[in-house]
Every structure is written in structure tokens, then in C-alpha cells.
Amino acid sequence: MGISDSRAALGPRRLTGAGLGHATDASLEGLLNQVARGDQAAFEAVCARTGPVVFGVVRAVVRDPFQAEEVAQEVLLDVWRAASRFEPGKGSAQAWVTTIAHRRAIDRVRAEQRAADRQLRAASHAIAYDDVAEAVQARLDRERVQRCLGCLTSLQRESVTLAYYGGYTFREVARLLGVPEGTVKTRMRDGLIRLRDCLGGE
């Protein structure tokens, strides 16, 4: 994506890949590189490209729309600020951005709910991605991820989704699912590896 079309790229957008090493990621990396040098047009393009995934993951975790907007805004500004710290050797640009978004979202819910009884959230919170699925632009990506999640064992799937979308720690997940902590840790790792293999194989 060139800089010249960054203006036009604002507004409703397709999602460009899900961080799976698509060709588009290379240009997102290039854009980040330009952002690191203070290029605002490049930043607009980055916002257009990553805005949906940032807002989506923050909303899935934080839930409250007002707070989700606040956090998503912080995340995108983080991308602007910290673009020079992105290291392509350590993962895709998409993964870098989504990690920032997810961490910020988790930080927000943990700060708010540290003292609260988190178990209360469990019932309504499981597999949050269903709630927002209808709004997703990247239907294909979404369907692919859901199909691959379907290839996981139910314990792997629940461990991964409760942690990622629910914002629970592995100990909390273990409690919620009534299984030993060690088992949950293993299932999270195995589940992600299987997810990755499935996505990479398609």
C-alpha cells in the first residue's frame, strides 16, 4: 500500500490478514518503518489497516464500548510512539500491534477487576468472539480461525479462548474449568501450536 492512498484508506476497511505472514504484512512493516520516522501519512495508513483488529480485540476483552474506545485509542497512539521499537525479526507487524492491543486491554480489565469476583464474569464471558462476529469485516479470516479453533480439543479451545478473549490468567482458567493448572498451561501451548499449524496449512 502506498502512502498516496492512505487518506482513501480511512473509513470502513477490510482486514488485511490476521498476522499470518500474508504478503500484506510486509508492507505494514514498511509503513511502521516510515511511521518511526514521523511520517503521519504512513501512520494514517497504519491506523486504517490495524484499526479494526485493534478495536476488535480490545472490545472483545474490555467489553464496555466506551472504555474499549479509550483503550484502542491509547493502543494506536502507542503504535505511533513506539514504532521505532518494532523489530521485524521477532514477528510480524500485525502480531506486534495486536500484542500491544491485547496487553493494554488485559491491563485495563485486570486493573479494574483485580479485587472483584472474576468468576461472575465467567458465564457470560466465555467465547466472546461470537458476540462481535457479525460485525467482522474479514469474514474469511474469521471463518478460518473459527474452523481452526474447531480442530482443537474442547479443553484446548476453552483454555485458549477464555484466556485470550476473556482476559483470564491460566490459574483462573484452571479454576473455571475445574482442571489442574499444569494441564491448562499445557493445553494453552498445545492449542496455540495446533491453531498455528492449522492456519499455516490452509
Partner: protein, 262 residues
């Protein structure tokens, strides 16, 4: 936060999945990152796991309100960017610290592998993202050696805020505070040495009155090691005064630093 040794401390590698999912507490994260620093295989694995979690994020993508993007872009125009990380003082190689979970954070070999150094590194990862972190402050923090897990707790608190200020007598003070934990960690660099029987004394000053936090330890290499202040109250300031060697019950001189706690 408890720091007792858990059985899985012997096999931190099994935390990779939970770590990639951010499904770890601050303590777990520190422990795993210490492991990461020594585990080459982990870097590759985390990169793979990171792509899987990015896909999970992609699956819930939804267009943000257009105003949100407009606000961000407007805000970016007046927001200073972090400089790239280049060689730190005394370190002959590039510092590698990124804001993501993606990788090894190297440390200088001579750097003590203390818990708090890992904590500071972990905090700095978040802090670099949170922005506004001056390289000086990074160095101060990284160099800071500590004795107490409370420091790690404050540094890694989700709501940790970093403040820096110039001290009137010379030097810089760095404060990391967690409102949730009602605690802060205070460090200085470059404070002038005090002649005679005098000490620097740290205070919390505010609606609840002036409370002594304690004397600053003698500087080493120009830096004072971290001092912890607990029991922060709304409206408090941090104050630093020069007092007679043992300290005073109430401040007896004009503060050379007054820093409002946000």
C-alpha cells in the same frame, strides 16, 4: 502477589502458551522472561505462538468509529515519538527491548540477575509502550538494584506510572507509582554529595500532613537505590529535603524537589 517457589518454577518453559496469551500474572511474566533471556528456542516458539494469537485478534476485528481514528491521528500530531533504542551507556551492543511479548530481552552479562532487574525490564517493556519514557529514566531503572519484591510489584503494576523531575540542587528524580497499590518507588541520579553531617530525606506531603518516608541511601555511581513509599493518599506530593544526618521529624528546610503525584 506471592513469590514462593512453585513446582512449575522448574519448568518455566511450559508457560510459553499462557505467556503468549497474556494469561499470566506479573510474577509469572517476570519468571518467564528471565527464562526467555536464556532460552534461544523460546524466541522462535514465541514468534510462532504470537502469530496464532494475532489470528485470534483478527477473528474479532471490527471497524472502529471513524472519530476514533481521527482523534488518534490528531493526537499523534502533537505526540512525541520514542527514539529507537541504540547502545546503552557502557553496553557495547544494541539494547533490544520491544513492547511486544515477542522475544528475548538481552541483558548485559554483568547485570545481576535479580528479580527486580527482570521486573524493571518487564516494566520498561510496558513503559516503552506507554510512552514518554526518557532513555535516562530507562537507564536509571535498569541500573537500579533493589532488595524488595515490593519494588517489582510496583514496577509491574498494570497502572504503574513513571514520573521524572529535576531536583533543584541538581540531578534527577524518578518515581514509579501505582495508585492501586498506593505505593511508589523513588530513585535519583546525579544528586550532589552532601557535605558534613547532612542527609537527603524523602517525604510524602499532602492533606494528611508531612510523613517521612526515610533517608535516601548514600549514592553509588551517582545513583541512589530505590526507596519505597507506601500509603499514598490522594493529593500527595513527593518532597525531598536536606536534613541533619539521622533525619528530622518534620521538614526543616525548603524542599529541593516537590513532585505532584498524578
Amino acid at each position: 502477589m506471592r513469590w514462593r517457589r512453585r513446582p512449575e518454577a522448574h519448568a518455566p518453559h511450559t508457560l510459553a502458551g499462557a505467556y503468549a496469551l497474556n494469561a499470566v500474572t506479573a510474577a509469572d511474566r517476570i519468571r518467564f522472561e528471565r527464562h526467555l533471556a536464556r532460552c534461544r528456542a523460546c524466541t522462535g516458539e514465541l514468534r510462532e505462538l504470537g502469530e496464532a494469537t494475532a489470528a485470534l485478534a483478527g477473528a474479532v476485528a471490527v471497524d472502529p468509529p471513524a472519530e476514533l481514528i481521527q482523534r488518534v491521528i490528531a493526537e499523534s500530531a502533537r505526540t512525541r515519538q520514542l527514539p529507537p533504542l541504540v547502545g546503552h551507556a557502557g553496553a557495547g551492543r544494541r539494547a533490544r527491548r520491544g513492547p511486544a511479548t515477542q522475544g528475548v530481552r538481552r541483558r548485559r552479562p554483568a547485570f545481576p540477575r535479580r528479580l527486580v532487574s527482570a521486573a524493571a525490564a518487564a516494566f520498561l517493556v510496558a513503559g516503552a509502550v506507554a510512552g514518554g519514557l526518557a532513555l535516562n529514566a530507562e537507564r536509571d531503572l535498569l541500573a537500579a538494584q533493589s532488595r524488595d519484591h515490593t519494588i517489582a510489584q510496583v514496577l509491574t503494576a498494570p497502572d504503574a506510572v513513571l514520573l521524572t523531575a529535576r531536583v533543584r540542587a541538581g540531578g534527577t528524580a524518578t518515581v514509579v507509582m501505582s495508585r492501586h497499590d498506593r505505593a511508589l518507588v523513588f530513585m535519583t541520579v546525579g544528586l550532589p554529595a552532601l557535605a558534613g553531617a547532612r542527609s537527603y530525606q524523602l517525604w510524602l506531603m499532602g492533606p494528611r500532613g508531612d510523613r517521612s518516608v526515610g533517608l535516601l541511601p548514600p549514592p553509588r555511581d551517582g545513583m541512589t537505590s530505590p526507596v519505597i513509599a507506601r500509603g499514598l493518599s490522594p493529593g500527595d506530593w513527593v518532597g525531598l529535603t536536606v536534613e541533619p544526618a539521622g533525619g528530622a521529624g518534620t521538614p526543616t528546610s525548603t524542599p529541593i524537589l516537590m513532585l505532584k503525584l498524578v
